[in-house]
């Protein structure tokens, strides 16, 4: 595709580099310890697929911004795969398995069909603005939720092999603990804003506002200048929202 369609010449442009993250959607709030197992199984599959970079979703992700402890478990899982198995030493551990190759072909065919369908519909930018992609994504999520509620798809601890909430205690403490980071952030930002010279900030924001009202103007220089004077990201976003409206903030229009 890179060669035929986009005319790539440099061999580096032809190389597939895949960085991957295990699925957060597979993680459950129920029996959180099972998420450690899910991370390991998915990471193993990624290694066998030959991806270049892996990050394992933290087991407490269903409930919270991942804790340091859960991140460490993800890292250790990768290290176990790397050092205690030989799976990463082989280029293609599955050795062209018929089953995997056939499934890959099916996936590829599906992808090509969908890409052709999107291209036939015209400008992808316009489709994006019209909410086509976000609807596609939401429809898939709704479908997956229905398959789960109907029992067509099974998820351990969710619609099969459930335990009573009072028995579901393992790792609960970690997944439900909170460090209320935002309170500290609010205090810090308030304090920071108090200590700045107001006139310098006001003039930087004003300059940005004037630049933003001119649609042809490059906003980078006034943004960099505003940052250098101590303006916060939030204040810059406020000015841009006031000028452009918050159209990125809704769903599809």
């Amino acid at each position: 595709m890179m060669c035929d369609e986009f005319g790539a010449n440099d061999p580096r442009s032809l190389a597939v580099v895949i960085a991957s993250h295990t699925s957060g959607r597979a993680l459950t709030a129920q029996q959180p310890v099972n998420n450690v197992v899910r991370g390991a199984v998915q990471a193993m599959a990624l290694v066998m697929a030959g991806v270049q970079a892996i990050e394992i979703s933290a087991f407490d992700e269903a409930y919270r911004i991942p804790s340091a402890e859960a991140h460490l478990v993800g890292l250790r899982t990768q290290q176990i795969l790397e050092l205690e198995t030989d799976v990463a030493d082989t280029l293609d551990p599955l050795g062209g398995s018929f089953l995997i190759e056939r499934m890959t072909d099916e996936l590829e065919r599906g992808i090509r069909e969908l890409v052709a369908e999107i291209e036939n519909r015209g400008d992808p930018g316009a489709q994006c603005d019209a909410g086509v992609f976000s609807r596609m994504f939401a429809d898939a999520m709704i479908r997956s939720d229905r398959d789960l509620s109907s029992g067509r798809n099974k998820q351990v601890g969710v619609n099969v092999h459930r335990v009573a909430p009072e028995e579901d205690r393992l790792l609960r403490e970690v997944v439900e603990s909170r460090d209320c980071e935002w309170r500290y952030r609010i205090d810090r930002t308030t304090q920071y804003k108090r200590e700045r010279p107001a006139d310098v900030i006001d003039s930087a924001l004003q300059a940005l506002g004037i630049a933003a009202s001119d649609r042809a103007c490059n906003l980078m220089p006034p943004i960099i200048d505003a940052m250098a004077r101590g303006v916060t990201v939030g204040e810059i976003a406020d000015v841009l929202r006031a000028s452009y409206g918050a159209r990125f903030a809704g769903g599809p229009k």
Partner: protein, 135 residues
């Protein structure tokens, strides 16, 4: 019987919209009129939307802890405006303890990660707007 009107939205910077969309679709399929307010709402904005749209129920989707700071604000604004619109909160991050906290604040119903999605519509229909005035 007039059609039930439900405002669905997310508060603050929470951008995990899928749950809200799924619940909106469930409600729509069940014949409920959904006013979808989307993400990045302030409590004030959601109260305004529900007033302007004459909503019977406000549904908040919460997939970030921020809701713990925004819900009391939302309830206070409803009280101040003397509105009895029941507020329901649903989301994956809601622990059993949070569930009790929310109900204690005056939230009419809470849907945590354990909720069977087929029970959501009947539970929302069962809310009686006049009996659930937020305390």
């Amino acid at each position: 019987m007039t059609q039930l009107r439900v405002v669905i939205g997310l508060l603050g910077l929470d951008q995990h919209e899928i749950g809200a969309r799924i619940v909106a679709a469930l409600l729509r399929d069940a014949g409920v009129e959904v006013i979808y307010a989307g993400k990045f709402n302030t409590p004030e904005a959601l109260v305004n939307v529900s007033v302007q749209e004459g909503a019977d129920i406000i549904g908040i989707s919460a997939h970030s802890w921020e809701y713990l700071a925004h819900i009391p604000d939302l309830l206070a604004r409803l009280r101040k405006a003397e509105l009895a619109t029941p507020v329901v909160v649903g989301g994956s991050v809601i622990t059993p303890t949070d569930q009790q906290t929310l109900l204690g604040w005056g939230v009419a119903d809470v849907f945590g990660p354990d909720t069977d999605s087929s029970t959501i519509v009947p539970r929302i229909r069962a809310l009686n707007p006049s009996s659930s005035f937020p305390r």
